[in-house]
Symmetry: C2
Subunit: 533 residues, 2 copies
């Protein structure tokens, strides 16, 4: 606190810069085009920049993780070459989107070599993730690595002395960790900016937000600098970066993927809406690989907060009954996303699925308000105190969403919490009714009323946070792109700018009831098959 | 509130008395011996009183529910005759222990007849509980029946307009409901006494407590007036009556057996330690029948609070690794129960199970204190307000345990709750360590430091509430009886009176980690086989 916060940041940034090998640096011809106001799409930079070999381009572009792992198990590829390809590609992605916080490529390559030796010696892979590089959000702890989570006041904390439960599980299954990814200050906005690591840019269009809070994962996975990235989600933090950047993003039910042992911006005794860890990926089967591997590893033996619920097979259905929500009255949805939803609905109907258009459902406005009251449950404002501890300023998106009213933050009583719990249960009751009365397997709905939008203009995420309030699992399927020539202005949405978001990824969100992660996974595979093949 | 509370009670009692058929009344020669200070064991009254036919004695004494259901499915017995036998036996049990609140024998017999016709017409049973009478705690709602839960202020409430989720599931599986069972005022003591229905007596010895809060179930099931009774447990309320009365009592993990739609003494938004519904029974396989049937019915389709976790098969182990706790330093355990535990441990060792004597474990004293702080989470004291609403007095056990200090009840802040949550997580962390470091499948521990004791002297239940704090499932196995000639006085326990508790049932408690109800059920079957065969 004595030291000026900018000095601390400068030192931290120098440390990060040093972790980026000289020989993987992009030429200034590319770097000079990088700016948070540029219209540039940088998704093709890795293939075109000349830093990757043909083989590295093939490894990172033409396979999903499931495929690469099979090739490593068959010794067609080594973990070393796969890891090196993704280390390089992640380094490239970072230079154009600022998606990383910590890079530990040497450690990763050492681990990859160890795994190659292991396979040679043991004659079998270490586990279902053998040899595969997996990226994790900065909040996950990895022994010997820092978890700053974007707070200047956390810079001086020592490196982690133990692994998060999920990190242990990934390692026990043969994964290689190589990078941690960037997030917003407080982890509670959809703009992944903080004073330590700066802002994540959207690789589809640098001037758009990459989403948040797992924004670094969104950008990195979209650029195929990682094929399985791990985020966390308490209001949309896996799904928002997924749909902003154009990847799959699966928010599981609470406590099925172990959340324990992370560096947390809030109090340990946090109550109300609970966060969930989950994967961002480029294919549904990589989501399944991650979920099945993690849950089959019995997370409850690693983490005292994990649910001891085995992964179970689901009924093999040929057709689904799908409830479709196009929009709620409070937040009209951009034409871009309505087009994606309607096109998807038509295709699903044609494919023989049973579609129920939902006109009446519980209020997204009330749910969003209730959720934000839950997020403000800590009267101490611990997440904000961590900002103030160093004297660093609030970033714009935090200021926009959380500046207290002139009379100050409202102190909540225990009685108010009990009332909130009751209101929340009412939502669970009403949504169960929607599911049962319509015999729904899943709901398809917008993940947001907006695609990625210019930085610091995203704000409230009503279409994701509803499902956090209910503790329902939900998954983003990337689908179609915004097109200014088709998705014309809508007088109901004055801030919709077809030009600004042209080219931004669109999506649909698929939702199942709580703990029905298996059913959701199966539905995502079925729906993706219809939409994307 | 205008009406004198005693007038309301008199009217309610007259209504209850009317529900007891004249022809099932016990002679005064028996009734005159019933008193809360009598040494009498009334377990043999049903067989000896002359009200039951030979066949009814056979039906109620020589079979468990699993067996009777098989016989009904095979048409060797009708549901009508089975139901009539249990209606009569429950009526007898009630007259000597005061275990019932509501009796609806006519409705039950009508339902039984319907089920017999159904079997005839459909050629198959309605479900795995076809034709079987099942008793439920007074808090469960059944359309057209009252749920007074022992509050005078609830007497004037109308009969339930809908069923509890669990009641719907039981009925959908072919069960017959016939009685609801007695509980303590507030549901928060181990002495099932209230001003509406009076006090439940222990059939093993009338002067001892039947336990609580599911005390009516304990007495009824012990007398075989029911073979499967449903209780609820937030601090021991299934297990305490089970071990007081000498039955099995299985407290599942939270929300696996649906809890929703009950008449509740507390606020709907209650948080912290959550209650669980579960069975009391006379055989382990009846516990399994209940649990598998309920969970296979997908409670999450009935109840928005139920966990969508299917019942899963468990690894077939030949031997278990069992951690054994004999006692904690704060609450020395009666010689009666220590003898049961040590005898059980020896037998289990002889049977080839791996025994780990646990000497170091988290503090039962701290856990009990924390639990009681959680139970006081509602600053409104809603459970007490329901007493005060009618002007009825607090019963002795409620007075003893909950009389506020002279300075009044302490108002808790939201921040205190978050601190409590954190402390609770620490317990989960520490117990996981105990399980993992010792590679335990289950723990065997006392369910209490006391057997059933004279009325209003039971008080704190540290050995049950620990597992509620953790949300771990736990099950009582009735085992051995207190014997004044063997279980001699212990200077560490001045209030242990070998004479008073002579003949009281002893027990062991088996505990598994949260959501491991399947593993616990399997362990209870294995351990029961060793102990009881």
């Amino acid at each position: 606190m004595v030291q000026d916060w900018k000095t601390l940041v400068a030192a931290k940034r120098a440390q990060v810069a040093k972790a980026l090998p000289q020989e993987w640096r992009l030429p200034s011809s590319i770097l000079d085009t990088v700016s948070p106001t540029a219209d540039t799409n940088v998704l093709d930079v890795p293939a075109k920049c000349g830093l990757l070999t043909e083989k590295e381009i093939d490894i990172t572009e033409n396979h999903d993780a499931t495929d690469l792992i099979a090739k490593m198990a068959a010794k067609e590829l080594s973990s070393f070459e796969v890891t090196q390809a993704f280390c390089k590609r992640a380094a490239i992605a970072h230079q154009v989107t600022n998606c990383l916080t910590e890079m530990f490529f040497d450690k990763a390559l050492e681990r990859a070599k160890y795994l190659d030796d292991y396979l040679e010696k043991e004659g079998k892979p270490m586990g279902p993730l053998h040899g595969m590089p997996i990226s994790v959000k900065d909040s996950f702890n990895l022994k010997g690595t820092y978890s700053t989570i974007g707070y200047v006041s956390f810079i001086s904390r020592p490196a982690a002395e133990s692994n998060s439960a999920l990190v242990d599980i990934l390692l026990d299954n043969g994964a290689v960790l190589y990078v941690k990814t960037n997030i917003p200050q407080t982890l509670m906005t959809a703009d992944s900016e903080n004073n330590v690591f700066g802002r994540v840019l959207n690789p589809n269009k640098l001037k758009l937000t990459a989403g948040g809070s797992s924004g670094g994962e969104g950008a990195l996975v979209a650029m195929r600098g990682s094929l399985i990235g791990v985020g966390t989600d308490i209001g949309g933090s896996i799904r928002i970066p997924a749909f902003c950047c154009g990847t799959f993003g699966f928010k599981p039910s609470v406590d099925r993927v172990p959340f324990g042992g992370q560096t947390n911006p809030v109090l340990d005794g946090w109550t109300g809406i609970m966060p969930a860890a989950g994967p961002l990926a480029q294919s549904p089967r990589d989501l399944r690989l991650f979920l099945e591997t993690v849950i089959n590893s019995k997370p409850w033996n690693y983490d005292y907060t994990a649910l001891a619920m085995p992964w179970h097979p689901v009924e093999d259905k040929k057709t689904l009954t799908i409830g479709v929500i196009i929009e709620c009255p409070t937040w009209p949805v951009q034409p871009t996303i309505i087009r994606a939803l309607k096109t998807a609905t038509d295709k699903l109907k044609q494919a023989g699925h049973n579609i129920v258009m939902l006109e009446k459902f519980p209020s997204f406005a009330a749910a969003t308000q209730l959720s934000w009251t839950f997020f403000d449950i800590d009267n101490e404002g611990t997440g904000f105190k961590h900002i103030e501890a160093s004297g660093e300023p609030w970033v714009t998106s935090v200021k926009d969403m959380y500046t207290p009213p002139p009379e100050g933050r409202k102190v909540k009583s225990l009685g108010e919490l009990l009332d909130m719990n009751e209101e929340r249960l009412k939502f669970r009751k009403d949504w169960l009714k929607v599911f049962m009365e319509n015999k729904l397997d899943v709901i398809v709905a917008p993940g947001s009323h907006k695609t990625a939008v210019p930085h610091d203009t995203f704000r409230m995420p009503p279409y994701t946070v509803m499902w956090n309030l209910l503790a329902y699992p939900a998954c983003i399927i990337p689908y179609l792109k915004a097109d200014k020539n088709i998705d014309l202005p809508d007088s109901r949405i004055p801030d919709y700018d077809p030009e600004a978001v042209d080219g931004a990824p669109c999506h649909v969100q698929v939702i199942a009831r709580s703990e029905q992660d298996e059913e959701l996974m199966a539905a995502v595979e079925m729906i993706s098959k219809v939409l994307l093949s």
